[in-house]
Symmetry: C2
Subunit: 244 residues, 2 copies
């Protein structure tokens, strides 16, 4: 009870929609897990704009509501797939990532239904692990299941998950974004309170710059960092900012 712990968990989400499209087709939600910790759900609906948003919204809602009920991540991802496939007759796809901080098992669980890799750093020496095992988008084929990786929560753990707007950033102009290289370079500069925030903002900034400030696709980035505790208090903080 009230043991003074020495780590801090940071989550940062940065998100922008395709240029000249007011609505992003990506949806990111965060929800508290009933047994402690939280889950992030990141969905990229097929195509962009309103129709993509409708898809990503129903997938995210289904996953979030199951996770909030305490359903395990793998089952939630399978259910979100089955639900989308039933609703849309297997005609519409979405990518789905669930990143969970499970304080019961003290692990980070990354579930991928996406061709986008996830980037993981597991130690302070900055060595990168690329989670890029082949993985299917949801909504189309029967019995699609997520590729799941579980990692112990340790100091210096970082997980970076994104939608395919990051993969394609700069492609049109012949200069593709190398996300792992960016993370490797940026990580040593990330400090204290703003570690996850600066990684997410930096990576998104780079992606948007390579698209010459007019992203050709929705781009969403989730960063999770475990750092030394920054404050002695036990306060939990959540912040949201966006232009209206």
């Amino acid at each position: 009870m009230n043991v003074r712990m020495d780590l801090e968990l940071q989550v940062a989400v940065a998100k922008v929609s395709k240029y000249a499209v007011s609505e992003s087709g990506d949806t990111v939600e965060v929800i508290e897990r009933p047994h402690g910790g939280l889950s992030l759900v990141l969905v990229d609906g097929q195509r962009s704009g309103k129709s993509a948003k409708a898809i990503s919204n129903i997938v995210a809602r289904k996953a979030v509501s199951l996770l909030a009920d305490g359903v395990r991540d793998g089952a939630s991802a399978r259910a979100a797939h089955d639900y989308l496939r039933t609703m849309r007759g297997g005609q519409v796809s979405a990518t789905l990532n669930i990143v969970s901080v499970d304080l019961g098992t003290r692990t980070i669980v990354i579930s991928r239904n996406s061709h986008c890799p996830a980037i993981v750093v597991q130690s302070t020496d900055g060595e990168l692990l690329l989670l890029d095992e082949p993985s299917q988008a949801i909504g189309i084929h029967a019995r699609t299941r997520p590729v799941i990786t579980e990692l112990p929560i340790v100091k210096g753990l970082h997980a970076i998950v994104f939608t395919d707007g990051v993969l394609s950033a700069g492609e049109r102009y012949g200069q593709k974004l190398d996300a792992p290289a960016f993370v490797r370079e940026r990580l040593p500069l990330c400090a204290g309170e703003t570690c996850a925030r600066s990684l997410a903002d930096g990576l998104l900034g780079q992606a948007v710059a390579l698209e010459r400030d007019r992203p050709g696709d929705d781009i969403s980035i989730v960063v999770l960092s475990v750092v030394d505790r920054q404050q002695p208090d036990d306060i939990r903080r959540l912040s949201v900012r966006f232009p209206i």
Copy 2:
């Protein structure tokens, strides 16, 4: 499409549990609204610790899932009440606040099922409005309904909503927290990017200090601020930080 807007919405949540109790009985969730904007759901379950958390969790889940489906705030609050009352036979209460940013109507909607007032500042002259119309907690009586206030989104709008840990802060030591006075004093100092964040952190810090660093109750604070746009980009940002 992609009109350059000049306002920024900021949300900040700060939350701490009762001293020596690892689990807060309060639950705060944020969810995207399907027609644009977001909703914050703030629930304080009766008593503290595990049993209170179980209550606040089911109430928040019900409200969040309805809001995510596009159900209007008043109906979501009524449904959360009916659900809790049915599940617990009218024996268990909770306070429920829903604060929504509705980008369809360009309004902030504050729904109160709580004896705690909400503090609103509607202009840059710093005049305070106290939303303190009598309002019933949910879960006990038949046909309980929320007290709802709708405010146009304008620059300089701030809304501060909290659980009753703020009301009782300092009471034991004969020096009660005057939240409106604190907001009035602090507001002129709040600047740019960190406006909502510093209000939430400042108010919680004051509450915890008056409890001599050992809060006698769970304390949760939600601040929503509309300020001048801080960055030219169209990026949406979410951050979470907590000790683990």
